[in-house]
Symmetry: C2
Subunit: 231 residues, 2 copies
């Protein structure tokens, strides 16, 4: 990671707090974490910074403590497909931490972020030392797996409009989704910007959503769910 490290004294204390704040470490006591937290890096990076690229091998697992990030792949002709948004306090990158298969995606901070980094050996030692940690990790991976399969099914079976309806259902907080351009939404759905605009307007025409600049408000949750269900 080419972003700035924060190796000051108070930051060391912060790091422990950060780790404890994650669901992954919730079963571990500070004493159990102690032998590890020296090797765990903490760094900040600004919005837009790509902190992981395909082929990098050093770090194995990231804990996004503050900010936001997204994981995406890029097609040969430069198209971007975002397959996961990472909210604060969640871990990612775990799929590469043990197996030899490399992570073939980019990770980019979409807001100024604070990120803890665990090495492959750190993760292995944690698993072997604390079964509770392994259990949590497997739980998290299982959830991701189910999500990935759901997304696969949606891409295989559904057209854009239902896929968009599904996406809005998942992402809206309080019936509101802000901060995403049509471009961003297209990259999440695997379609072009114009197609995203078209699909949004379909939902608007059906009276299910209101659309503002970088801002979508869901009016009819039930109706949206209906569209999401159909093929």
């Amino acid at each position: 990671m080419s972003s700035r490290r924060v190796p000051t004294a108070e930051a060391e204390g912060l790091k422990l707090t950060y780790l404890k704040g994650s669901e992954l470490f919730q079963d571990l006591t500070p004493e159990q974490l102690e032998p590890f937290h020296h090797t765990i890096q903490m760094a900040t990076c600004r919005a837009g910074h790509v902190f992981y690229r395909p082929g990098e091998t050093g770090e194995a697992m990231f804990l996004l403590k503050e900010g936001a990030a997204q994981l995406y792949r890029v097609s040969p002709d430069g198209r971007k497909f975002v397959f996961a948004d990472v909210p604060a306090s969640s871990i990612f990158g775990e799929m590469a931490c043990i197996g030899q298969a490399m992570y073939e995606c980019f990770a980019e901070a979409t807001a100024d972020s604070v990120i803890c980094t665990l090495s492959r050996t750190d993760v292995q030692r944690l698993i072997l030392a604390y079964p509770q940690f392994a259990l949590r990790l497997i739980e998290v991976m299982g959830k991701r797996m189910v999500q990935a399969e759901r997304q696969l099914e949606a891409l295989a079976f559904k057209t854009v409009v239902p896929r968009l309806a599904d996406f809005l259902q998942r992402e809206c907080r309080g019936g509101l989704l802000e901060g995403l351009s049509h471009q961003d939404i297209g990259e999440r759905l695997g379609v072009h910007r114009e197609t995203a605009t078209y699909a949004l307007n379909e939902l608007k025409a059906a009276g299910l959503v209101e659309i503002g600049r970088r801002r979508i408000r869901v009016i009819d949750t039930e109706g949206l769910a209906g569209i999401a269900r159909e093929g």
Copy 2:
């Protein structure tokens, strides 16, 4: 599972052998497995039998010892999308074994099979008791995750012909793929049978493969790889 159990004495011995044969259990001694293998079910089922359906909660993890199986989802209008073929000696179902999210897919034996079944609590106890087991499980899940993401990328970016080329590369053993109809291939690629036929004929016309009834022979591996790479 509604298939026949095999609770005879000699079968009990076999079961231990079966478990040891899987990569997942390779680090465990027979003594370590002993307390578990009474609760582990072993069953046979015939080709075509669907032994797992969405919503079933009892079993958490399957070990396919002999035979073959496939995992698929079904669209509202009845289309089938096979997202994983399970070869003998591998485990599956692990994604649901801990988390609360249910497996939303069907599992069907595609050949007469012998399947060991572990309950959710069995798996949890194994993880907590034997960190080596957890490590292996995480390794396997990581590989599956990478596969799933690759498949997602392919669906989002590639048209049928490159996707088929990619599939043939992965599935061919010794340049030969037998036992799959065009229908089966279509279900793996997420397209209709006619489209699978069309894509196969494109590859044949390009001189990359020979096509027989339920039988595909790869002639030009390099050329196939080239097609697989392009968008």
